[in-house]
């Protein structure tokens, strides 16, 4: 089933490309089908329950490299969000874009491509699968954020998002490798708890990776910038899907780091900073989309804090928040997008009075906003209650820090939500709706998804039992002890409720005071500028680095390679002992060796080409002698014949070049000599080191017996070549044939220009 759904996405991408040529709307409709089907499937699975569905495509069996999918309760919950919100947003985008919008193929296909990568990430059962799809979401989101690629600011924002998330992906990869090495399995469901220094390093790396994806301070700078994307993209990627990937990751691998203090505290630090700084950012900005983006940073920080805290109740609250946040934040984005399309602005200081002219949008925004604030009778309320109760269950320093984060973040949330809704819908200079440029499109297409999402908050509250059926199994899967909790529609007047009331009152006061103060400066985006500066610096400096590394001189390249090889061989020196050395196997060997080296030196230093060729021949004949002494008559015979042909080839081919080699300049020559000497020493040392600790005896007796019995021949070497290793010999023969054809082809090409020169 998983393959079928995934395949449907891939087919859908092709369909979206084709349909998108007609219009943006057609492309989006084609793209929406697969996510819609997936969402329905996930919903029925969640309601019906049943065994966990999994699928695996093994690639390298022995190395545990496989694409493995597993749709457990957590994955199903995320599938519902990713595919459900995805399908709704694609429907919404049909109304958002005008019917003559450009790039229909690209947008629809990339949206679906992102959706498919996200599904792969959510379903991933091995860390390798997870990483591949993780990076694919980075790439597709880069394309989506940069949809309006003709705009330089958009390109900059897209690049920033890619640089940060892709760098985070690499950090994550390092962390995952450490994790897999320490737990002994790349399987996400089989991660055993680990501890120690490596575990702490792995924890830090994984958390940094997750924090870049989930826009945690200080890696959050890409998220506000990514608001340059079309609003459907923001509603999808930056509320329900991509930013949740980091949260999902820490939720899933969290159990393995349960004993690692660094995991808990670094995670809480990320979360705490994001909750507060995100909330403050949301209060400072005027662009409605930016307010939502900063609000997302803050809300994601809440989830990060809860999952890092790791207590069962905190994990339960985290899952509940994850679910409700996707619904209300997507709805708010959709409303802001509609306001943007119909009024032409998103600046809340210019907007106002839309409650009357856009009543439906107002109701949707009110419901979603109230859910975000945490008012009953909405799903957001139950999630926030769960979070506060989770804080009450904690103890000591954790309770204090997480408590400040949750309460402070909630107060800020109330304040910026009030400011946002007041700014758009409250009294003020009534904005004229639908000015020039807005042709009355299929506006129900924009309204329906937003209504659905915001009503989901109400319905979810009404049938809280149904929501529990989704949330509780997921939480249980993440932490076995979290299964005892459930969302409660009306808890009664308890401590948590009192705190909740106080939060709302304080938040409202802060919000009203902030509106009255009327701070409308556009804040500086320090982090974003710094990030761009770093990236620009790298890009502008890299040509000089490339020019330095890749300067185009073959001899220098080869010398560098030789030096590196020498350094690599130096590592073997630790294992060096000369006890097994003898002077020679046979006195003749020593004489031949000396002759060979002298002949080689002659080949190098004799000035004339013919002399060098003859010296090479002498080396070959000397080596032939060495083979004979060693007891390798086959090698000797072959070498003798080969050498003859090579020398003839040299004489034929180079006979009419200048007689002498060109002179060599002094300093480069000495560098060459040094590299060469070091290379020779390194190879010798490596061989001695290799012989120091032989791991076995030569397999001569076995090979001899095998050759006679299996190969039916007495010459063991030749039987190995034509029988035991015949496939190698086949390859070798093909190489020779290729060389022959290549030589003929080269000869043919060069005869043509000559003919031409002679004609002219």
């Amino acid at each position: 089933m998983l393959w079928l759904l995934f395949g449907a996405h891939l087919v859908g991408i092709a369909a979206a490309v084709l349909a998108g040529r007609r219009s943006m709307q057609a492309g989006l409709c084609a793209a929406a089908l697969a996510p819609a089907a997936t969402a329905i499937w996930a919903a029925t699975r969640l309601v019906e329950g049943g065994d966990v569905v999994s699928a695996e495509l093994v690639w390298v069996d022995g190395l545990d490299v496989a694409i493995s999918f597993r749709a457990d309760a957590v994955a199903l919950l995320m599938t519902l969000l990713v595919s459900g919100v995805g399908a709704l947003v694609m429907g919404y985008a049909c109304g958002y874009f005008s019917s003559d919008a450009k790039g229909g193929s690209r947008f629809g296909a990339t949206m679906l491509g992102f959706s498919a990568s996200m599904l792969g990430l959510v379903w991933a059962d091995s860390i390798w699968t997870l990483f591949i799809f993780w990076e694919m979401t980075s790439v597709t989101s880069f394309l989506l954020v940069g949809h309006k690629h003709t705009d330089a600011a958009v390109r900059l924002a897209a690049r920033r998002a890619l640089v940060i998330t892709a760098t985070g992906g690499l950090v994550l990869l390092a962390g995952l490798i450490l994790l897999a090495q320490n737990t002994g399995s790349p399987n996400l469901t089989k991660l055993a708890p680990i501890s120690g220094t490596e575990a702490a390093v792995a924890a830090a790396l994984v958390l940094i990776g997750a924090a870049t994806k989930s826009a945690q301070v200080p890696f959050h700078v890409w998220l506000p910038g990514a608001m340059a994307a079309p609003t459907p993209v923001s509603a999808y990627l930056h509320s329900a899907a991509m930013v949740k990937a980091g949260i999902l990751l820490i939720a899933v691998v969290g159990p393995a780091f349960g004993d690692v203090a660094a995991w808990k505290w670094l995670g809480i630090c990320f979360g705490f900073a994001s909750v507060i700084w995100g909330g403050v950012g949301a209060l400072r900005h005027r662009d409605a989309k930016l307010i939502l983006a900063w609000g997302t940073v803050s809300q994601l920080g809440l989830m990060f804090t809860l999952f890092s805290a790791g207590a069962p109740k905190a994990i339960f609250a985290g899952v509940a928040l994850l679910f409700s946040h996707a619904l209300f934040k997507a709805a708010l984005f959709l409303v802001v997008g509609e306001v943007d399309v119909r009024t032409g602005t998103r600046d809340i200081t210019q907007l106002g009075g839309l409650a009357r002219s856009m009543p439906l949008a107002f109701v949707v925004a009110l419901l979603a906003g109230a859910s975000m604030v945490g008012l009953p009778p909405l799903l957001g309320f139950t999630a926030k209650e769960a979070a506060i109760e989770a804080v009450l269950k904690l103890s000591g320093g954790t309770q204090a820090v997480v408590g400040v984060a949750i309460i402070g973040g909630s107060v800020l949330t109330v304040a910026y939500t009030i400011r946002l809704l007041y700014g758009i819908f409250g009294p003020g200079p009534a904005t004229s709706v639908a000015p020039q440029g807005y042709v009355r499109r299929r506006s129900w297409l924009m309204a329906a998804p937003a209504v659905t999402l915001s009503l989901a908050g109400v319905v979810g509250y009404a049938v809280i039992g149904g929501v529990n059926e989704i949330v509780v199994p997921a939480a249980t899967e993440l932490n076995a002890k979290a299964g005892v909790y459930e969302l409660i529609a009306w808890p009664g007047v308890k401590t948590a409720f009192v705190i909740s009331v106080l939060i709302v009152i304080t938040g409202a006061v802060v919000g009203v005071l902030w509106i009255a103060r009327g701070s409308n400066r556009i804040p500086l985006s320090l982090g974003a500028d710094a990030t761009d500066g770093i990236v620009d610096g790298v890009i502008s400096k890299s040509p000089r680095l490339i020019a330095w590394i890749q300067h185009g001189s073959l001899p220098v390249y080869l010398a560098v390679m030789g030096t590196v090889a020498v350094l690599a061989a130096a590592a073997l020196a630790s294992d060096f002992a000369g006890g097994h050395l003898i002077w020679w196997d046979h006195p003749l060997q020593a004489m031949l060796a000396a002759a060979v080296v002298i002949a080689a030196l002659a080949a190098a230093f004799v000035g004339s080409r013919l002399g060098a060729a003859l010296a090479l021949g002498s080396v070959g004949f000397g080596v032939t002698g060495l083979f004979l002494v060693h007891g390798a008559p086959d090698l000797a015979l072959t070498q003798l014949l080969v050498e003859t042909v090579v020398v003839v080839g040299f004489v034929l081919g180079l006979g009419h070049l200048a007689r002498r080699f060109p002179p060599v300049t002094g300093s480069w020559r000495s560098v060459r000599i040094m590299v060469a000497a070091a290379g020779g020493l390194a190879v010798t040392a490596a061989l001695v080191a290799a012989g120091t600790n032989p791991t076995g005896q030569p397999p001569t007796p076995d090979l001899v017996a095998e050759a006679v019995a299996e190969g039916g021949g007495k010459n063991v070497v030749n039987v190995i070549l034509t029988d035991l290793r015949a496939l190698d010999t086949l390859g070798e023969v093909v190489v020779l044939a290729t060389v022959a054809i290549g030589i003929l082809a080269l000869a043919r090409v060069r005869t043509r220009p000559q003919a031409q020169t002679q004609e002219s």
């Binding site: 014949l641 003859t644 003839v648 080839g649 021949g713 030749n718 023969v733 054809i741 000869a747 005869t751």
Partner: protein, 149 residues
């Protein structure tokens, strides 16, 4: 390379050629039990071609056909066993009696070796033709005007 027209050398090479070919054939058959094999045999045949070229007797022809023929033989022998379900490159041993030579034990490996030697002869022929082909048309030692400006 300027062909050497000295009659004595030509005569010598004429006489030596068949002998060398016999040596090559011996190496081809001996390979399984004594030093030799297809590659060495091919090089001996190739050396004959080189000698005859240098002596101005004849230049090798049909290089491409040789290579194609050799590759075909080697490939067929390698892949044929698959047709009757044996692994790739599996070899069959055949024993038969011949007058004069006695019992000959040979197999598909021999065909493989012959193919190898044919390819090697082709390669040597390509070296002779490819590395020296165009030189007689140019003045000896004079660098070619390769790239017209």
């Amino acid at each position: 390379m300027k062909p050497n027209q000295a009659p004595a050398i030509q005569l010598g090479i004429r006489v030596a050629s068949p002998l060398a070919i016999v040596v090559g054939v011996y190496l081809l058959f001996a390979g399984h039990n004594f030093p030799g094999g297809g590659f060495a045999a091919g090089l001996v045949f190739g050396a004959v071609a080189i000698l005859r070229t240098i002596a101005g007797l004849q230049r090798p022809r049909g290089t491409t056909a040789l290579i194609a023929c050799g590759v075909l033989m080697v490939t067929v022998v390698s892949f044929l066993p698959i047709l009757w379900g044996d692994p790739l490159l599996d070899q069959r041993v055949v024993t038969f009696d011949l007058p004069l030579l006695g019992t000959i034990k040979t197999g598909t490996a021999l065909v493989f070796d012959i193919g190898v030697s044919i390819i090697v002869v082709g390669l040597v022929a390509a070296i002779i033709n490819g590395l020296s082909a165009s030189q007689p048309t140019q003045g000896a030692g004079q660098p070619t005007q390769g790239a017209p400006q």
